[in-house]
Every structure is written in C-alpha cells, then in structure tokens.
C-alpha cells in the first residue's frame, strides 16, 4: 500500500484535560492491584500510577487524513511504548498533542499487515513532560 508519509510528525489534535482529582488516581491504582501508599492514599504525597497517563488520548484518536486504503479494514491494538516523565498529581491539567509517528507494512504468516503509530505527547500545566505514548495500531 502507498502511504503519504507527509502526514508523519504533523500535529493533528491538541486537547487539555479537566483537573485531575485524587479519587480517579486512587481508583485506577487499585484497579491494577497497586497497594503502595503513594498511589492509593489521598494526601500530599499522592501521585498517579505510571500507567494512569495511558487514559489520555486527546479529542480524536486518528487524524482525518489517515490513508484511505486502511478504511474498512479490521484493526487491532498491537501494543504501546510508554516513555515516562514527571508523575501526574491531583490538580494537574494534562495537555495532549497528537501526531502520526510512523506508517509501515509487514508481511507475516497471515499475510500483509499495515501499522499506524499514533504518538501522544503529554505535558502538564507547567509545561513539564509527563509522558510520550506511541500507540501501534495494526490493520489486516
């Protein structure tokens, strides 16, 4: 499949979250079996579990100009790469900037597969890097 690689690296969405509240950080941490007080007890030391940031995805997951050959094909979440910065704290407002990071094809035993890597870059209200999340979507 031909890819228009000019879409790579171009920001297609930006969004700001509501302020993070302690209860959602605690509920998330408990849901992944966490018991450490810094993730599960309200107070000045409370921070988000490292993977809490995976919930942020901006207003739209994909750009409007995704390659047309992918439309209508079955897609799967193939995996994620998470690079962490400062932890999320109650009161933070998370800014998400979205771009297509890569487009490529692979041929496996079940035939040809196309991959779209969507990158979300998260910063907090002070401009500090919270996380970079690369989402690999596979199309068959």
């Amino acid at each position: 499949m031909e890819f228009d690689r000019s879409i790579i690296g171009r920001e297609y969405d930006r969004a700001d979250s509501e302020a993070v509240v302690a209860e959602e950080l605690i509920a998330f941490a408990k849901a992944v079996g966490e018991t450490a007080p810094c993730y599960t007890e309200d107070g000045p030391d409370l921070v988000g579990h490292p993977t809490f940031c995976l919930r942020y995805r901006g207003r739209k997951f994909f750009p409007d100009n995704l390659p047309k050959g992918l439309l209508g094909r079955m897609s799967f979440d193939a995996g994620k790469d998470l690079d962490l910065g400062v932890p999320i704290r109650p009161g933070d407002r998370i800014h998400v900037s979205s771009c297509v990071h890569d487009l490529y094809e692979k041929t496996g035993r079940s035939g040809s597969m196309s991959f779209v890597v969507v990158r979300f870059t998260l910063t907090n209200q002070s401009g500090e890097h919270v996380a970079t999340i690369d989402n690999r979507m596979m199309y068959r």
């Binding site: 408990k30 849901a31 079996g33 579990h49 995996g79 994620k80 998470l82 690079d83 962490l84």
Partner: protein, 135 residues
C-alpha cells in the same frame, strides 16, 4: 521489600507473580479509565463484536506489569515500558507476570528487563521491555 541496585545481576529473574484476574477486576478497571465498552464489561456484548468473551484492555495488562515491576524495584522507578499485545487477555483465569534482567548500566543506575504476561496455558499474551532506574 524492593531490590537494591547493587544486588541485581544480569540474568536475574524476578519472582513470578501469579494473579487470578477476575471479570469484576476488569470491569472496575474499565470503569476507572472510562473505557467501559461491552468488550471489556460483558461476555454477550463482546461476542457480538466477534470475541470469544469479554477481554481485559491492553492498558490494564501494562498496568499489571508495571505494578509487578515496581514491587521489585520500588515505586516511581519505571522510566519506560514497551509492550506488544500478542493475544487476548480473557479474565477469570490465572496469569503469570514474569521478568528477567537483560542489562545493567552501572553509570546510569538503570536496568533493562524483558517482561511478559502468560496465560494459564502458557501463552505469552503480552510481551515487552522496560527500563527501570534506581537511586
């Protein structure tokens, strides 16, 4: 008690964590993260999407692996986690959370891990690599 950097050697295997993942845990996670779609909450709804039953979100598997790694290395120690979702994580069964130290960087005081989540029939449904830092 988490591991100290000096006590770690390349090739060390983390003590495997055996976890029974219930459907209620998956539903709680889906609610907590705003992804309470049928595929993550209800067998019938998942089957309508062509799945064999409700599944756990990939993000939940990453969360479980992170908790497992940070229990070994200490809270706040994870710097990077890369994961590949190779199979469906079908709840109401036991999973094994596993990892091995593949590299130790004395100067940076970091370790690299291979990590994976294995179903009760031995299938590695999630595999990944992680970077962990130590004080």
């Amino acid at each position: 008690m988490s591991k100290t950097f000096d006590a770690i050697e390349e090739g060390d295997e983390l003590e495997t964590r055996v976890l029974f993942l219930s459907k209620d845990q998956v539903r709680a996670f889906a609610r907590a993260t705003g992804v309470d779609f049928p595929r993550f909450t209800d067998d019938e709804g998942a089957r309508k999407e062509g799945l064999p039953g409700m599944i756990a979100p990939g993000n939940m598997s990453m969360g479980l692996l992170t908790t497992f790694i940070e229990t070994w290395a200490g809270t706040g120690s994870l710097r990077r986690l890369g994961s590949t979702f190779r199979g469906l994580v079908l709840p109401d069964q036991e999973f094994h959370l596993c990892a091995v130290v593949t590299e130790k960087d004395e100067a940076a005081r970091t370790t690299e891990l291979d990590t994976w989540m294995e179903s009760s029939d031995g299938e590695r449904v999630v595999i990944g690599t992680a970077t962990v830092s130590f004080d």
